[in-house]
Structure formats: structure tokens, C-alpha cells
Symmetry: C2
Subunit: 225 residues, 2 copies
DNA sequence: CAAATAGTGTCTTTGAGACACTATCGT
DNA sequence: ACGATAGTGTCTCAAAGACACTATTTG
């Protein structure tokens, strides 16, 4: 076949090549605040500044595989929600050389997060997203623009579907907890009764309740299939 | 400064490099059908098959610039709507070598399209999207997957906003025409009265009407600011 | 004036929003 | 019993859906 002949004589070096990275924006909610995982850069460029954890894509791995590798290496996670955000390709976005980056959003429940904290992972730390996005806060590269874009996407996504909100909570969760997640991501408070009517079709009541906490216990739900 | 010293000694070759392409999915509506612009591949791989027009990203251009370059070179267009779709990064998606592709959606009105047709551009041709997505139709690389993804995004976008529908029509348009665009993208028919109520806030009536056509003329509108 | 398309009025249904109410737990 | 949070009932209002009607042009 002609295609095969061609491939033998093909010279891959005749086209420009560049470096490709993936960045993983790991969000979670701690103490009722949206947080993002950032790493402290140990070497130039932007030494000493905070950045979104990322890595170069290897020749034999897909973008998703590369992203999951970062999440595991820098934060210690496996099996977490990951969704492509955007490809960033400004020519001068990295002072070293031409680097295009594909960013991914991933979300952790506090439950999963705490499991990992026990492993003494201190490469990365979680920061308050509102603080990170405030004027006085700086991030390496174009990472502040990326976080801004991601923050808006989270709000947009929740506006039209409650899908991602389940990623922020444990497998079993209470409706007040889930409502809080919606409120944090949307940036406004919601009416309890209305919220419950809306998500009723996506959740299933279990016969368990919270216990040990003050005041009236709350029924535990699981996500509907 | 330390960062600057570092950059002088930095060796960009120590990381894997790969080729990056952009693909431009150009949609339009002709004769009441959604069409996509495809090129006939003149050389291997996938010689003789249809593909989404694309190009390698050069070292000194952004992804958007590269995409606009393809649109101009292969279809003859400038100043058209362009929106990033997705980054495709499967390891074996190109038989020659590792190539990651960032795809963009662009939309043309038939009016703009006809202007270009007069330039005798025959490198690319428009194909019926329903036909392209039917089981018997094949495209080069993973391009059928990309078209499928784009087709769904168009429907999703129209569902929540009428923004992109204006890209399909001329600057001045009638409401029956705009409604048809919505119907084609959504894949279902809409009630005239309801449609008009919904888009009323996004359009402004002009004092012009269509003429020369059979039956009652239609009022021309422009997009509201 | 008939045929065909353009454009409107209005009833129904659905769901979001607002708010007041009841229920159940720990102390 | 009380304080505090969990959970429910229901009115209002705005928008989507369905459908029937009127209006304006060409031939």
C-alpha cells in the first residue's frame, strides 16, 4: 500500500516541534472555602513563585495520562475526576522556549484529600481561590489567567448541571453539605426548599443519618445513577 | 537576577518535543443543511480521504494565529468566528509520529461563503454533516470523532445561548431564517411564537423588508448589541 | 381571492424564587 | 424546654410550550 511506503521515507524533522505540557488544576472545598492546589517553584523561571502543578508530556503517553501522572506524583491521587479545560498557546507564555500547555480541571472531596495528607505529601499545598485571584496575588507564567478561566467554568458548569458538585463531596453526603458546594461555586446563597426540589431527581436517600454532631442529624444521600 | 542567569544556560532539548497542529472545523448552512468544510488529502497518510483542514503550528505564531492562517489559506477567509474546541492527544492518532492537535470551530454565513466561491477556491469543499457522520462515511485520522464532538457542541451551545446562531446568517436577517438555523442546530422544530419571544431581546428590527421573493415579505433584523 | 408564508394573542404548564412553617436532634 | 439546624408546604411570578388566530404579499 502506498501509505506504508510513504511512512518509511517520512522525515519527522521537517516540521517545527515544540514542547507540550499539561497543567492540573486541583480544586477542593475546605472549611467552606474553594481551594486550589499550587506548587512552590524550586527553580527558575519564576523561582519561588506559586504555580499550577504541571509536567511535560512524554512521547508515549496521552494528554490524559500525563495529567493523571502529575496528579499522582505531585498530589498523590488516583481515580479522580478530570476534565479538559483549555489549550494555552501564546508564543511568549514561557520565557525559556515555546511551550503550549493543555490544562485540566480535577476535583477532590475533602475526604479523599485527607487520606493523602497522611502520606506527608508536602510538595503541594492548597490555597484559597478568592485570595489567589485577588489583585495582589501573583502566579508564575500565565497561570493566573488559567485559574481565572477555570473558576468561571466551575460556576458555569454548576449553573447548568449539578454533576461536578458531587465530586466535591464524599460518596455519602447530606443535602445541606451539597447545597453549600453549590453556593460556594455559584458565589451566592440558595433557598433550601428550592435547592432540594431541583436536585431531588439526582440524589437517592439512604437509611443512614449523620451522628455525633450538634443539633438535628441530617439524612445521608448518595448520587442517583 | 537569578532567573535571567538560568535562562542563559537553559537547554531546551532536554525535554521531549512533539509536533502540534491546529484543525479548523468550518461550519455553514447551505440549502437548509448543516455543512462542514473538508479537504481531499493529496498525500499519505490517508491519501485520498477527506480530512478537516489543518496545519502545523509554527514556532512564532499562537494557536489562534495558526488556525486563522489555515482558514485563510485553505478556505480564503478572514475575520470569522473562531472558538477553541478541544485538544486531541492520543499517542497513535497520527501514524507518522506523535502529533497533538488543537481543534477550533469556525462558522460562516452563506453570504460570506459565496463571496469566496467566486475566487475559485477549490482546495476545500463543503459536505453535509449528517452524511459525514453516518456510519458508512470515513474521515482521515481521528477526524470523525472530532466532527462528532463539534456537532454536539453546536447543539449544546444553541441550547443555552443564541450567540453562535448569528454567525450563520448575514448581518441583516429575517426571523424565519434565524429560526431555521436554531432548528437545524438543535435538530428539532420550534414554535414560531415562542421562538420570537425568546430571541426578542437579542435582535433589533430594521425598517427594511425582503423583496422579490414569493408571498409575504419578511422584516429584516440586526443583532442587538 | 386563493395560496403561502409572516407575524401575534393567549391559555396552559413548568419550574424558579420567596418565605413561612414544622420536625428532630443535643444539651 | 430550648436552641439550632434539618426538612416541608405553598404562594407567586416568569418563562417555555402549545395552538389558534390575524396580516401581508404574489400570482
Amino acid at each position: 500500500m502506498k501509505n506504508e511506503e510513504y511512512l518509511k521515507t517520512y522525515n519527522p524533522d521537517k516540521y517545527d516541534k515544540l514542547s507540550l505540557t499539561v497543567d492540573g488544576l486541583i480544586f477542593t472545598i475546605i472549611d467552606g472555602k474553594l481551594k486550589i492546589c499550587l506548587v512552590d517553584r524550586k527553580k527558575p523561571p519564576f523561582e519561588g513563585m506559586l504555580a499550577i502543578p504541571g509536567t511535560f508530556v512524554k512521547m508515549d503517553e496521552s494528554l490524559e495520562q500525563a495529567c493523571k501522572r502529575v496528579l499522582k506524583d505531585k498530589a498523590g491521587f488516583e481515580d479522580i475526576y478530570i476534565d479538559q479545560l483549555y489549550a494555552w498557546g501564546r508564543v511568549d507564555r514561557d520565557p525559556r522556549m515555546r511551550i503550549v500547555s493543555v490544562s485540566y480541571i480535577s476535583i477532590l472531596s475533602e475526604e479523599k484529600l485527607l487520606k493523602v495528607r497522611t502520606k506527608e505529601e508536602i510538595l503541594s499545598e492548597f490555597y484559597d481561590v478568592d485570595a489567589v485571584l485577588s489583585d495582589s496575588f501573583e502566579l508564575a507564567f500565565d497561570h493566573k489567567e488559567i485559574v481565572t478561566y477555570a473558576r468561571k467554568k466551575l460556576a458555569r458548569d454548576v449553573e447548568k448541571s449539578s454533576d461536578i458538585t458531587f465530586e466535591f463531596v464524599s460518596e455519602k453526603f447530606t443535602l445541606p453539605t451539597l447545597q453549600k458546594v453549590h453556593e460556594i461555586l455559584l458565589g451566592r446563597s440558595l433557598y433550601k426548599a428550592n435547592f432540594r426540589k431541583k436536585i431531588a431527581e439526582y440524589v437517592v436517600e439512604t437509611d443512614e443519618k449523620t451522628s455525633g454532631e450538634a443539633y438535628r442529624p441530617s439524612i445521608l444521600y448518595v448520587k442517583a445513577k
